[in-house]
């Protein structure tokens, strides 16, 4: 049996590298993640934020509807009455404690849908991985947006 150098070696090599060469000219699809980020889709849901009214008061009125709607039961809300000297939200009450267990949360967005004042919003920050389970209890301090500078 004779070995044909042209059809046995050279031709397959050219065909193979030809495909590689053609691909080189195409647009690169890889998202170069840590250096560059892709644009997230509109409905992407990640880390929560408690937002404020334009005048700096918190939107959250401590009604616990989000905690009731949450399928993972990972929200804990403790409400307290507002007083005139100490006013946190425009309503009657505000949340003294607001905690989300991020490791149990499935980012379904039902809390956002249930909230009557639009206080809890799922933003697009996905870099949440961490080393310890305790680090995933996000307190009100971590979730609440800072006041806008006057």
């Amino acid at each position: 049996m004779s070995f044909d150098l042209i059809s046995g070696v050279v031709k397959p090599l050219i065909t193979g590298f030809g495909i590689t060469a053609k691909r080189l000219a195409r647009k690169k699809v890889t998202v170069q993640y840590p250096e560059k980020r892709r644009e997230q889709y509109d409905r992407t849901r990640w880390r929560h934020a408690l937002v404020r009214h334009d005048d700096g008061l918190e939107k959250c009125i401590g009604c616990s509807l989000c905690a009731g709607a949450c399928p993972a039961k990972c929200i804990y809300v403790e409400a307290e009455d507002n007083t005139d000297e100490n006013r946190f939200s425009p309503g009657e009450r505000y949340a003294v404690r607001y905690e989300i267990n991020m490791i149990r949360c499935i980012f379904c967005g039902l809390c956002q849908e249930a909230c009557p004042t639009g206080a809890i919003v799922l933003k697009k920050d996905f870099e949440l991985a961490n080393y310890k389970r305790e680090q995933f209890i996000y307190t009100k301090k971590m979730l609440l947006e800072s006041k806008r500078p006057e």
Binding site: T30, P34, P71, R104, A129, N130
Partner: protein, 200 residues
């Protein structure tokens, strides 16, 4: 007076490590630390442990759009003997728990565990009789990645976190490859001592 020499530190593209000055007597060991850490951190071969829907995102992370091979983790191994990091992707049912632990035990040291997704990390929405409420009840977990499922970028962020952790390691003794924390030991001894796995 001890001579001060710049430590040899290797660089990779993602996380630059800044060299530190060390006493000359330490130079061999400290550079070995840095070298071993760099080598181990940048060739983490994952064990395919797809248990549920999260596994789909893990596969997507390995494909060309997100390309986990940029971090040296493209070689998904089907055998624990060749793997460095176990990515638990999906909910761990109580029937799966003994198998998971056995496979973890079969992995050679040093080994790490990434718990991917809400279910593997804590049970997620499945707070019921069938699902283990967090893989850390069975194996020591190094990095938790929240999400349902975590997007490929979130998993890559978890892998980068693990690489950071590996690069920070210091060897007290030359041959002690994975310094275990007291917490790891207590978790493991609790499992073996009380035979916790038998009840699953």
């Amino acid at each position: 007076m001890p001579k001060r020499i710049e430590t040899v530190v290797m660089h990779d593209s993602t996380t630059p490590v800044i060299g530190s000055t060390q006493k000359a007597g330490n130079i061999i060991l400290t550079s070995m630390d840095a070298l071993i850490n760099q080598v181990q951190a940048n060739s983490l071969w994952p064990l395919t442990f797809g248990l549920a829907c999260c596994a789909i995102e893990m596969m997507s992370t390995a494909a060309s759009r997100f390309d986990i091979s940029r971090f040296g983790s493209e070689a998904f191994r089907a055998t624990p003997r060749q793997a460095d990091v176990m990515i638990i992707a999906g909910r761990v049912s109580k029937k799966m728990a003994p198998a998971l632990r056995q496979i973890y035990d079969q992995m050679p040291e040093p080994k790490w565990v990434i718990s991917m997704g809400a279910c593997a990390s804590s049970g997620g929405v499945y707070n019921n009789y069938a699902i283990v409420q967090g893989a850390d009840q069975i194996v020591p977990v190094d990095v938790y990645v929240p999400g349902c499922p975590p997007s490929p970028e979130a998993l890559i962020f978890g892998i980068l976190k693990l690489q950071e952790k590996i690069k920070r390691r210091k060897y007290n003794k030359v041959l002690e490859l994975k310094p275990r924390t007291q917490e790891d030991i207590s978790v493991e001894s609790a499992i073996t001592r009380e035979g916790a796995l038998n009840e699953f």
